[in-house]
């Protein structure tokens, strides 16, 4: 790590980067490797490495308890959980799945893997979650499902969305990847809607290398999804419906099991980092943070907001910070309805709030690689950015 006194020392201009090792926007927690190796050794001794082994069963049981639900079905990753859930729950004959545009760029692809089409709705200006008003305006006879996304800074308005879904007899599926650990006014995250999907990806709160799971209180749905993740095999070992290989393996489950007991500690550390960001950057007038007052409390992402008075564009800040090995990201670079990475056929949408919000936020480095001292270093770096903005911008342009 180096300090910056002259702008020539900035990495973007050829100086050594602020961080010798990258700082990322992912959690990358690995809190108990000893437990992981002990569990993996058990798997080796049993020669049981996949196909719903005892570690996967144990993980599913612990996750049921965490979310207060009767069913948890693990998957190779959250994408498989969403594909089979959307496909299974979709209203027969209907084609469209309502979802926000300000979200993970994979979601429209998953909807298409499920044989359906995405239809984007606008988001709330504060929570950035699906706007019930926009959903009510877009829902119709061709709506097959609503895919709601809970955000790291705020949970969705679940009561209002459930009411709309119930009135229209449309299933509500929740992407809760960033909402683990949270609670709605009524019920824990994972206990509402027809099904909720979570991730065990290394960058998320519970690291299982890759992995995901779905929670539901619907016995029949649980039975069908368990079948579908294993080639549709029925009890007699013969497929009874279309399935795929969506299984979580035992070694991924072992890592998730080793990290799961540390979840509260990880959340507490994240909150401390978030508070540190907030305190240290409070005096910079062109920066603030998203409203976390309705957050699930895991602080898995730190969303920094740029004011219109900011001397830099978001793109310039990304360029400056990434050069320093602080791998920040726009949140989100392009909202999905403006993107070009999706196969043709998306329905054009007019989403003014999404368009506005999608310009403002930056994901800052977080997770277990990011120390309090690192945040102070970043603050010092911003001090230089603030003080020398004229010269830096000139040199960037040159």
């Amino acid at each position: 790590m180096t300090t910056r006194t002259e702008i020539g020392n900035l990495a973007v201009f050829g100086g050594a980067p602020l961080f010798t090792q990258v700082r990322t926007t992912g959690q990358l927690a690995n809190r108990n490797p000893e437990l992981f190796f002990a569990l993996a050794k058990q798997a080796f001794e049993r020669r049981r490495l996949t196909n719903q082994g005892p570690l996967v069963c144990e993980l599913e049981e612990q996750l049921c308890q965490l979310h207060g639900v009767p069913h948890c079905i693990s998957f190779a990753n959250a994408c498989f959980a969403l594909i089979v859930a959307i496909r299974t729950l979709a209203r027969p004959g209907a084609r469209k799945v309502l979802l926000p545009s300000l979200t993970f760029r994979g979601l429209p692809h998953l909807i298409r893997w499920a044989g359906l089409e995405p239809q984007y709705c606008d988001v709330d200006a504060v929570t950035h979650t699906l706007s019930p008003l926009s959903v009510a305006q877009n829902i119709g006879p061709d709506t097959a499902a609503i895919l709601v996304v809970d955000n790291v800074n705020a949970l969705c308005d679940i009561d209002a969305l459930e009411q709309i879904a119930t009135a229209s007899k449309v299933p509500l599926i929740l992407d809760c990847v960033y909402a683990i650990g949270g609670s709605y006014a009524r019920g824990a995250v994972g206990s509402r809607g027809a099904a909720s999907v979570f991730s065990l990806h290394a960058t998320k709160l519970i690291n299982g290398f890759e992995g995901g799971y779905l929670t539901t209180s619907d016995d029949d749905l649980a039975r069908r999804l368990r079948r579908q993740r294993n080639f549709g095999f029925g009890d007699n070992g013969v497929p009874v419906e279309l399935g795929l290989n969506g299984k979580l393996n035992e070694i991924h489950a072992a890592l998730a099991l080793s990290n799961l007991p540390c979840m509260q500690d990880i959340m507490a550390d994240n909150e401390q980092r978030f508070e540190s960001y907030r305190a240290l950057f409070a005096d910079l007038p062109w920066l603030s943070f998203a409203d976390y007052s309705n957050s699930p409390g895991n602080y898995g992402l730190v969303l920094m907001k740029l004011a219109s008075s900011a001397p830099y564009s978001r793109g310039q800040l990304v360029q400056l910070l990434r050069a320093e090995n602080a791998l920040v990201r726009p949140y989100y670079d392009k909202p999905l309805h403006r993107g070009h990475s999706e196969p043709a056929g998306g329905i054009p949408a007019d989403l003014p709030v999404t368009d506005r919000v999608s310009q403002d936020f930056l994901q800052m480095p977080v997770g277990d690689r990011m120390s309090m001292a690192d945040i102070e270093l970043l603050r010092g770096f911003f001090e230089v950015l603030d003080r020398e903005s004229g010269a830096i911008l000139k040199r960037l342009r040159d």
Binding site: L49, N51, F231, G243, L244, N245, E250, H252, S341
Partner: protein
Amino acid sequence: MTENETGSTTDLTNGFDTPLHVGQLNLPSVDAFEAAFKGIFARQFFTNHGPLEQELDAAFASYLGVRHAISVVNGTVALMIALQALDLRGEVIVPAFTFPATVQAIAWAGLTPVFCDVDPHTQTITAPLAAAAITANTVAIVGVHVWGRAADPDGLEQLARERGLKLVFDAAHAAGCTSRGRLIGGFGDVEAFSFHATKILNGFEGGCITTNDDALAARIRVARSFHADDDSGTPILRLNAKISEAQAAMALISLGHLDQWTEDNRHRYERYRLELQGIPGLHFIDYCAGERSNYQSVVLRISDEELGMSRDHLLQILESKNILARKYFSPGVHNIPPFSDLSTMGLPVTDELCRTLIQLPTGQMVSDRHVAIICATIRAAVSA
């Protein structure tokens, strides 16, 4: 597996205390596993196209002698992504004598399977059989290298070329196997392997797509995750299909043991042949002379008349002794939902194979003595 106490001393036909499975389940030493995983933890690089994924892709491509190997989360997804990347609409000719995932992948890719019967000797589709199933709506053929025996790649390549069809191979069984001396992996437009724990290359779960087509490889690399920007101009349907560093580590270790594990499989296969010699009605599936095989499956065709009992009766007897032999593949995929709704013409060879084949336990946990017990159990059953 532990043998029954009595069986280990006096009677070989009492079976096992715990079940004996058909899968390979080959494991490296715990030390090798721990060393690899400590490396992952030191790098804090758990997934997302890490160094082990890249090493695996390079090593497997080099081993097979193909331009591109692209590892993914499992073998089914390898086929799904490969088919999707070909950007096809229409019908795909495929055998019904295969694991259901072959056909399920076709359905997930938005294509319609059309079943084709298989050759009674090779148990794979052949060019003449596939040619007879081609219609105006056919866009591709998916051959399956069942038991690692090549599915007529030369004939099917010529047919596909002549008829303007794409050619895909399900190579889940075929790591380390050859066709006319050439390793499977570079035939057709694209091939898909499995690194499932029951296969000879064990990545816990895992799969790999291999091709010599640079443009197709580029599309598949984009399609297997949401990481790269898709600037192709014709955006492709994508999926989180990444292989993790954990899976890649295990698959790499397995690749290093491939020759040894193949030799161990061959030894077990020969032991079975020796121990079951002379029993009428048991016909081993041969591995082609002059070709390399991984011998990961020990498969026999049962002749009811000669043996005096049906395949299913023999399976029941073995199961009662904790010998979990399997009737791969049964029923044929043309007889399972949702594909049983397709109006499939008769597949007499497929139906006969589904009725008569049995797969016996093999893999690292099956010792010579285990083979002796299994064979003694079969011998006792048929002579009872």
